[in-house]
């Protein structure tokens, strides 16, 4: 994909970690569960990695493992999204309720 040198990799790690910390630190308690669910969905990006891994698998064993990987990753992504969306949907209706 792209050539990463050790130092650049470290910089990316640091900046991403800092970003995650900052973005979350302003979340009110009421959104903690949806947020955990939301971040759970976001690491569903593991799907693209699992696809690439299965895509280069050659032996039956690695194909099997890769297949399981993609299957699990898809569950993570899809399940995570729907769970989060269902929770946040209720928050929306409650807010409307409050306005009315």
């Amino acid at each position: 994909m792209m050539e990463l040198t050790g130092l650049a990799a470290l910089y990316i790690f640091l900046l991403a970690a800092f970003t995650g910390y900052e973005v979350i630190s302003r979340v009110p308690v009421i959104l903690h569960t949806p947020l955990m669910s939301g971040s759970n969905f976001i690491h569903g990006i593991v799907l693209v990695g699992a696809m690439v891994a299965l895509g280069l698998a050659e032996s039956t064993l690695t194909k099997t493992i890769g297949f399981i990987g993609v299957l699990l990753a898809a569950m993570n992504a899809v399940g995570g999204f729907i769970a989060t969306d269902r929770m946040l949907e209720m928050f929306k209706s409650s807010k409307e309720n409050k306005r009315g």
Partner: protein, 458 residues
């Protein structure tokens, strides 16, 4: 870099931005829904782009796996009740950890595709992902009620330590390039067992912290495998979740006043550990719904403390209806939510939101704890450990030191409870035996309905 690779990389870049912006939007109730939608678009774009990765084989297998996984997850996530959401999050999280471990396994078993200097990252990611996988599954089983007891045996911690050292030793050996099939199989098996053994002794009350921790760990594992694949979207998204999850875990542990090390390495919520078997003085004094209704109808202020029991009884709608009746009578009604009420922080907020309770009458522990002494009636519904005063008074109690809602300090306490059993942690509740406490036995929803009738009668 050819044109297609560049395009794929560009889409990944956009996806990473969408994830971060999405997370940020999720930090406000008004923009939260948009936030998850943005992140969703990022995910779809990244997934579609991945199909254009040069030399991507096994396309048929990839599509079948995505189809099966998505279908199972779609149906289960659509069907699950809101009360069971925490264990579903644990489950989907475990799947992610397993996927990260699977990536590592493929790369370690296809030695020609991995950059040797990244082998160590793949191995670390494999350990973390696998532990998160098996640990999350145990957390799921526990919350689902398939596994009620905290399992503990003598020498468990030593076994864990030996296991952990063994995993590290084999891991180092593997990262040096000894990618023998049997060695890798043993390595992953040990990591799976380690995750199981680590989670088994943890009691239900600590589960939110554990799920949050595994969420962070999965993020980290995904980030590490992202380095192996040299995939910036995975690196950034995984690391962001790793950091965010770590912060969330800290916030939760802080709310319970329990260092994370205690959660993981001490026996909390064990029904076998003895401390909670001690006798509590006094007796349980039952009350009828009519009397309880009168008490609240003529009160100036009522604080409602919901817990997981309310969720199980699906009583949130009836409780809100009751609160509205009280408010029409001029009673000052507030909801007090303990940070770890329910099975996850914010779990009760989700349920009250579902019922339509406005945010501005829902209060955190810190905001409301001083008000209890000025409150006429505290109505506890389905909450137990979070109002147990032994957390303040009894240093021997497993929950000693956990901040609690000071319901015991209000003039009267009414506890709606289905039976006489102890809380999720198995600890006897001293509040129930206090002179100012009355037990209203029955199903949460039925009792709320009875209370509404009783209040309306006056």
């Amino acid at each position: 870099m050819d044109k297609t690779s560049l395009l794929v990389a560009a889409v990944y870049f956009v996806a990473a931005i969408l994830f971060i912006l999405g997370l940020k939007r999720m930090s406000h109730p008004s923009t939260a829904r948009a936030g998850i939608t943005w992140a969703g678009f990022g995910m779809i774009a990244a997934t579609l782009a991945t199909f254009f990765t040069p030399k991507l084989g096994n396309l048929d297998l990839i599509i079948i796996a995505i189809f099966i996984g998505s279908t199972i997850a779609y149906i289960s996530a659509k069907r699950v009740a809101m009360t069971d959401m925490p264990q579903m999050i644990a489950l989907y999280n475990g799947m992610g950890g397993g996927a990260a471990a699977a990536i590592a396994a493929v790369y370690l078993l296809e030695p020609h595709v991995i950059r040797p200097d990244f082998r160590v990252l793949a191995t670390i990611g494999a350990i973390i992902g696998t532990v998160s996988f098996s640990g999350s599954l145990i957390a799921f089983a526990k919350l689902q009620g398939w596994m009620r007891k905290a399992v503990r045996f003598p020498g468990q911690q030593y076994l864990n330590l030996v296991l952990f050292i063994g995993i590290i030793v084999i891991g180092v050996y593997i990262s040096m390039g000894h990618t023998d099939l049997y060695l890798i199989a043993i390595f992953f098996s040990m990591a799976i067992i380690f995750g199981v053994l680590m989670t088994l002794p943890i009691g239900g009350a600590d589960m939110p912290v554990v799920i949050s921790l595994y969420n962070a760990l999965t993020g980290l594992a995904v980030g590490l495998e992202g380095y192996v694949l040299e995939n910036p979207a995975m690196i950034i998204a995984g690391t962001v979740v790793g950091a965010a999850g770590t912060l969330l875990t800290q916030l939760m542990a802080k709310a319970m006043n329990r260092p994370i090390s205690n959660v993981l390495f001490s026996s909390f919520g064990a029904s076998s550990s003895g401390a909670e078997d001690e006798e509590v003085d006094g007796s349980l004094k039952p009350i009828e719904a009519d009397d309880a209704g009168v008490m609240m109808a003529f009160a100036n202020s009522v604080i409602i403390i919901p817990g997981y029991g309310m969720a199980v009884a699906q009583a949130q709608h009836k409780i809100w209806e009751m609160a509205k009746v009280l408010r029409e009578r001029g009673v000052n009604v507030k909801f007090a939510i303990h940070p770890v009420a329910g099975r996850m922080p914010g779990h009760m907020n989700v349920l009250l939101a579902e019922a339509g309770v406005p945010y501005d009458i829902i209060y955190d522990l810190d905001e409301i704890n001083d008000e209890f002494s000025k409150t006429d009636v505290s109505l506890v519904i389905g909450a137990n450990d979070v109002v147990n005063p032994v957390a303040r008074t009894n240093p021997d109690s497993p929950i000693y030191g956990m901040p609690i809602l000071n319901a015991d300090k209000s003039q009267n306490v009414i506890i709606i409870k289905r039976g006489k059993g102890a809380g999720f942690s198995g600890i006897e509740n001293a509040l129930f035996y206090q002179d100012n406490a009355r037990m209203l036995y029955g199903d949460g929803q039925d009792m709320a309905a009875d209370l509404i009738n009783a209040i309306k009668a006056f």
